[in-house]
Amino acid sequence: MRRTAAAWCFVAPALLVIAIFFFVPVVAALGLSFTDFDIYALADPHNLRLVGLGNYVRLLQTPLFWQAFGNTLYFVVVGVPLSMLASFGAALLLHSRLARFPGFFRTALFAPVVTTLVAVAVIWRYLFNPHYGLLNYALSRLGIPAVDWLGDPHWAMPAIIILAVWKNFGYNMVILLAGLQSIPEPLYEAARIDGASAWRQFRHVTLPMLAPIVAMVNILTIAGYFQLFAEPYVMTQGGPLQSTVSVLYFMYEEGFKWWNLGSASAVAFVLFVFIFCVTALQLRLARWQSAA
């Protein structure tokens, strides 16, 4: 009993900080989402109205919200697999015994993760430039006509995906690489003695041993990619024809551009519920897989 009390004393400061700076704002935001808080309410609290679920109902009837939702789904469905493949491929290459200068390449591939996005965006805007961008130059060498990457509503999201994958894959790569390095060598030795080819070693030793890490990385990546914001914010401001407006970007405009904090909070909670459901589903899937 005394020991539990002591433990509570030790964690109390941390809990207090979390309660004040996390739970209170979250509860306040939830409360806010049932009001129509805006600049009029900022001027005079009497101008605040309780609207119940009004913000949510109106939100679900707003075409732009659904467009933002669709754009975000598109980004997640295409971006996450690409990002996972890139991370996994890079991790395998770095882990390979054939790799030269693994330390250098590990740093180089990780560099985009720690570079500020604003600087990266400047470079990529040049790479994407329809007239003298490197990307279109490469395409023209292959005989493919120029693509207006950031100006064409059909190509703006793919451009954002390319940028995001390039920017983020290094992070997962490092985690996967650590996972690969923690697989005990005797397992491979045993597999080799049993006459397993390189492919079968990969299929039956590497993948199963790595499965929990892959599942975790996958969940983190999906949750992260649903919160797409910075890339369209610096590259396209949501355009052209609102084809790169993500849910979070929509929320930002609603809240900080138009100062409708009530409905912006509602957007945040809708996104939260959705990410929560997707993550729960994934956890269930992962558990079911490991049981099978």
Partner: protein, 389 residues
């Protein structure tokens, strides 16, 4: 804010010399963050004494009751004289009969055009009416050769707003309770705007897709371009010397004869929470003196809001500024409700969809009225309550 925030520090030593008891601390904000910062400052009771404010933000901050009414100060002032200011610009600073800001510099939109290309098509003067303008646009456009009459960037709402302000009908009706986009006036403005794209006179592009507007203008890819005063110095700097005679500015043509344009610009305001309001006003008076405004113009290229300042020889000699001087007598403020910026953004988005053929003219005006009605819902509620109470 922006460039003005840097330049003003060069003017202030003179002010501090004249008023040894006053020290001015300047805080510079980038335009993109200013709006957010000001609202946050208001929420946190840390507003500045004096502030530069885009004049479309005045309705919002006045609704917040954050600004000090300046009528009393202006009436007693020998320097700030309402009659000397362009009426449209002065009007943007008045809300419900009170004055909340003093214009610092002005901004409007008008035509930049290629004089040589227009002359080659047989026109010696810029258009004065929409009819003439359309004739010229048709004559100079050759869509196959990617040669267009006019550039109306789809990421800007100002060109369409300028055309809409030329109409007699207001953009919002019933004291800003509802949109008036279905009215004859706006339909005529949007109709012309869409016609320019449908006939190939204007390419359906945003400025991002043009990448270098000045080069393309120099190359003659378009003859007219609706833009603001900052582009005078840009064109002077970016076009080669031998091309400097080939371009000119002209006031916007209206439906029948010279038309109105937007009353934009920045004002100086005093915050209600300030403890140095008298000193703040003295700073505003200093910055409003014609001599100081002349220096300010020389440093920034920003156009002054007072007629007296315009009589300065340097400004009077500037051939490119002349059209602005004329246009400034015919500028009209956008609707003065805090929600206007959001409605203007919707207007741009709907117009963009209509240009891409996804909405007809009727559908577009209807969609705008619906959106405006939603956005103005709170305002209607507030006005109804105020009426009842």
């Amino acid at each position: 804010m922006g460039r003005e925030g840097e330049v003003v520090t060069q003017l202030l030593p003179e002010f501090e010399r004249r008023h040894p008891d006053i020290r001015v601390k300047v805080q510079q904000l980038p335009w993109t963050a200013a709006h957010e910062k000001l609202l946050t400052a208001f929420a946190g009771d840390t507003t500045p004494d004096v502030c530069q404010l885009g004049n479309t933000w005045i309705p919002e901050l006045a609704a917040l009751n954050a600004l000090e009414p300046l009528d009393r100060y202006a009436a007693a002032s020998s320097i700030v004289q309402a009659a000397d200011y362009f009426p449209g610009i002065w009007d943007t600073n008045r809300m419900d009969g009170s004055l909340y800001g003093v214009p610092w510099y002005v901004d409007t939109r008008l035509l930049f055009y290629r004089r040589d290309l227009l002359a080659r098509a047989g026109f010696s003067t810029p258009p004065a009416s929409w009819q003439e303008w359309k004739r010229m646009l048709a004559a100079v456009t050759n869509a196959q050769a990617d040669q267009h009459g006019i550039l109306l960037p789809l990421n800007e709402f100002e060109p369409l707003l300028a055309l809409a302000l030329q109409q007699d009908e207001p953009l919002l009706r019933d004291d800003g309770r509802w949109g008036n986009f279905g009215g004859v006036g706006f339909r005529r403005a949007l109709g012309l705007y869409l016609e320019m794209f449908q006939r190939g006179w204007a390419p359906p592009l945003g400025t991002a897709a043009i990448s270098n507007v000045w080069n393309e203008f120099g190359r003659g890819r378009f003859v007219f371009y609706i833009s603001g005063p900052w582009n005078i110095s840009e064109f002077q700097r970016r076009l080669p010397a031998e091309q400097q005679d080939s371009w000119m500015t002209a006031p916007l043509p209206g439906p029948d004869g010279p038309g109105a344009s937007i009353a934009g610009g920045s004002s100086l305001v005093v915050f209600r929470a300030s403890r140095h309001r008298a000193e703040a006003w003295r700073l505003i008076e200093f910055l409003s003196e014609p001599a100081v405004q002349r220096r300010f113009h020389a440093l920034t290229g920003d156009l002054p809001p007072r007629r007296t300042t315009w009589s300065d020889p340097a400004l009077a000699r500037d051939v490119y500024a002349r059209a602005f001087r004329e246009q400034l007598e015919r500028v009209k403020p956008a609707p003065k409700v805090p929600e206007w910026e959001r409605i203007a953004t919707e207007m741009r988005l709907v117009a963009e969809r209509a240009v891409h053929g996804r909405l007809s003219l009727d559908q577009a005006t209807q969609a705008l009225d619906t959106r405006a009605a939603q956005i103005l819902e709170k305002r209607r509620w507030l006005l109804a309550r105020r009426g009842a109470g």
